[in-house]
Amino acid sequence: MPVWGYTINNNNQIDFDLKDLKIFDRLSCSEPSIKLCIGCGTCAGVCSTGNYTQFSLRKIISLISRGEIYNLSEELSKCMLCGKCSLVCPRGINTRNLITNARLVLKELQIEVD
């Protein structure tokens, strides 16, 4: 982490006008329930991966819907598809299908393919 004030820092601001929502738009077609997220975090609270890493599906959905896709592929690869999140989501988002589809979309668009 660069020291603030003595080094050049990357801009942390989301400049929404420059963002490309193509991943969100694609996912809205293949798994429309992504639009239903209310950011409650139940998925992240129940997630085994999230207990040991920075992984949070709630945050991933938020970032995708703002066009922030930096490191997305690496983040998505952490999910073990256990599906506990889909059992607890109060809005019935098909979370496991969402993650699988997000991986496919990244591959299709050739963004950070692993």
Partner: protein
């Protein structure tokens, strides 16, 4: 037993409903409205949440309940109140005096003056308007346009303007703005299907029946974007678009966005009329400047003065449904107060 006389102060929906109910019970009712039309704020609204019913239908129904049975008195305010034994004497600004055995205050609310949130630029930038301005545009039937006459393609709705804000002097929630934003976002999307619409909110308070369904529909059917983060500031670009800055709290990042039109969801404040009438009638106000109720659980239609009752938003923000229910409750409390009083007088004779 002589016919009891009740004066209802305020011709909005609360006053109309209370007057209609009491007239139906056989009381002699005068409804005072300081302006020249009935219906209060609802008369300025186009369509209503949660079902999109035209506001004028509600007013027409309330009017039909009172037009033959209630004496409606326009263009005068109460400037003084005297109590003579058990009877109130109201002195009006048009020189008339009026007697009443009981009074119902239905003096309503005012909309928060959005210009007071200077950082949002209302009254400074032409493309920043309020939820009430938007309803006026809907009522006019003209298409929604920016100040330069183009169809707006990116529109932001800002929740909690003047509500839950110590800087604005109002720490309470105005209750109806969240659902109004959802309703207006859907209405804009219906008239401009290609538009991108963003709601900036702190918490979404969609408490009543069908409100969550509207929110669900706004997300699924209309693709409205909800961004959890309160607007920090708005500024104007050279070409008249508005630059918004907020934190997107769910990604934990500051966010900047250009939009063509900003709509501020103005909250409710205690009306000037409510504060003035309370002073003239020596009724206690609470810290939020709305009329203080005897208690907030079961005595909410009772003011601090015996014989003076409250109906509607003079005791705090309410939906139309809540206002109507509160007005009916006030009517019932007033009727039972007067019946008890006449029984006591009869027994004493």
């Amino acid at each position: 037993m002589s016919k009891n006389k009740i004066v209802v102060i305020g011709g909005g929906i609360a006053g109309m409903e209370a007057a209609g109910q009491l007239a139906g019970l056989g009381f002699d009712i005068t409804l005072l409205e300081k302006g020249n039309k009935m219906g209060g704020h609802v008369a300025n609204w186009h369509h209503l949440f949660p079902d999109g019913k035209p506001a004028k239908d509600i007013i027409a129904r309330l009017k039909s309940n009172i037009q033959d049975s209630v004496d409606i008195h326009f263009g005068a305010e109460v400037y003084k109140l005297q109590k003579n034994n058990d009877c109130f004497i109201l002195k009006l600004t048009d020189g008339q005096n009026m007697e009443a055995d009981a009074i119902i205050i239905a003096s309503g609310f005012d909309l928060f003056d959005a210009a007071r949130k200077e950082e949002y630029g209302y009254g400074v930038y032409d493309n920043v308007i309020t939820s009430a301005d938007l309803e006026e545009k809907f009522c006019s039937g003209k298409p929604l346009k920016t100040s330069k006459g183009s169809i707006p393609q990116k529109i932001a709705l800002i929740h909690c303007v003047g509500s839950r804000d110590e800087k604005a002097g109002n720490t309470y929630c105005s209750k109806v703005c969240c659902i109004t934003a959802v309703k207006q976002a859907i209405e804009i999307k219906e008239s401009i299907p290609g538009a991108e619409i963003f709601c900036f909110y702190m918490d979404l308070r969609l408490f009543d029946r069908y409100f969550e369904d509207m929110y669900y529909e706004a997300q699924t059917k209309y693709g409205i974007h909800f961004i959890r983060g309160r607007l920090s500031e708005a500024s104007e670009d050279l070409n008249g678009t508005i630059i918004l800055k907020a934190e997107d709290t769910l990604t934990g990042k500051p966010l900047k966005m250009n939009v063509d039109l900003v709509i501020l969801m103005v909250g409710k404040v205690s009306s000037k009329g409510t504060r003035e009438i309370s002073k003239r009638l020596s009724i206690a106000l609470d810290e939020d400047s709305f009329i203080k109720s005897n208690d907030s659980h079961s005595m909410f239609n009772f003011s601090s003065v015996e014989g003076i009752f409250t109906a509607g938003t003079c005791t705090g923000p309410k939906t139309i449904k809540e206002t109507i229910a509160d007005a009916r409750s006030a009517a019932m409390q007033t009727a039972s107060y007067l019946r008890k009083k006449s029984v006591t007088i009869e027994n004493e004779k």
